[in-house]
Symmetry: C2
Subunit: 128 residues, 2 copies
C-alpha cells in the first residue's frame, strides 16, 4: 500500500512516517514508480511506534523497544527496565508540574485582576 493508506491505518502523519524512515526505524519497499510500498507488518510497526511515542517514550527508546520486539529471544526484564525508568521520569515530571502549579495558583489568586497596574504576579516574578 502507499504511504497515504499506511498513514490512515497507523494513525501517523505521512510526514512522520517518512521521517521515521529517514532515521532508520522502518524500511518499506519501493514500487517501480518510486512510491513507498508498505506491507501489513510495516503498518504493525508503525502502530507500535505510534503507541510507544504517545506513551511518552522518546524516539530512541522506541528504537530500543522495537528492536526488543523483533528479537524473539529477548528477556522481558529488558523491556520492563526501560518501562520502569520511564515511569520514574513521568513521576518526576508530575511532581515538578505540581509544585509549579501551586506557585502559579498562589500568584493567580493573589492578583485581583482589575484595571489597576499593581500586580502581585509581576512583583513576585521580579523578586523571586
Amino acid at each position: 500500500m502507499n504511504i497515504g493508506e499506511a498513514s490512515c491505518r497507523s494513525g501517523l502523519p505521512a510526514k512522520t512516517i517518512r521521517y521515521y524512515e529517514d532515521i532508520g526505524l522502518i524500511q518499506p519497499d519501493r514500487g517501480g514508480n518510486g512510491y513507498r510500498d508498505y506491507g501489513s507488518d510495516d503498518v504493525h510497526k508503525l502502530r507500535f511506534l505510534h503507541r510507544s511515542r504517545s506513551l511518552g517514550f522518546s524516539v530512541d527508546e522506541c528504537r530500543q523497544l522495537l528492536a526488543l520486539y523483533e528479537d524473539k529471544s529477548r528477556a522481558s526484564a529488558d523491556v520492563k527496565e526501560i518501562a520502569t525508568s520511564k515511569l520514574g521520569e513521568i513521576d518526576r515530571k508530575i511532581r515538578e508540574l505540581s509544585e509549579l502549579r501551586l506557585t502559579l495558583e498562589h500568584l493567580v489568586h493573589a492578583c485581583h485582576g482589575n484595571e489597576r497596574p499593581d500586580c502581585p504576579i509581576l512583583e513576585e516574578l521580579s523578586e523571586g
Copy 2:
C-alpha cells in the same frame, strides 16, 4: 558588570544571556573593549526572566510579561490572564501525564520481568 557577573547574579548561564540578547529580550551597553556591560536593572530583568522561565512560561510569554512589567500603566488583569491560561495548560499536562502513568504502571506490573521472552508490555504496544 561583565556577562560573567550578570550570570552569577541572575542565575542564568552566559550562553543563555547572549541568546536572550539575540532574540531582543535585553540590550546591555557595550564597553570600549566590546564587552557587554550590565547594570543592576539588567540583572533585575534577567532574574525576572529566569524565574518566569522556571515557572513554565515560554520565552515568548516571558517577553509579554516583561513588556507588561515595564509598562507602568498595565492592567493587572492582563497579567492574570496570561498566568491563568498557563495554569490551565499545566493542569492539562498533569492530567495527561497521570493517564500515561496509569497505563504504563499497569504494563510494568503485568510484566513478570524475567528471562523469558514473553512480555505483556510489548504485546500491548503492538496491539493498542
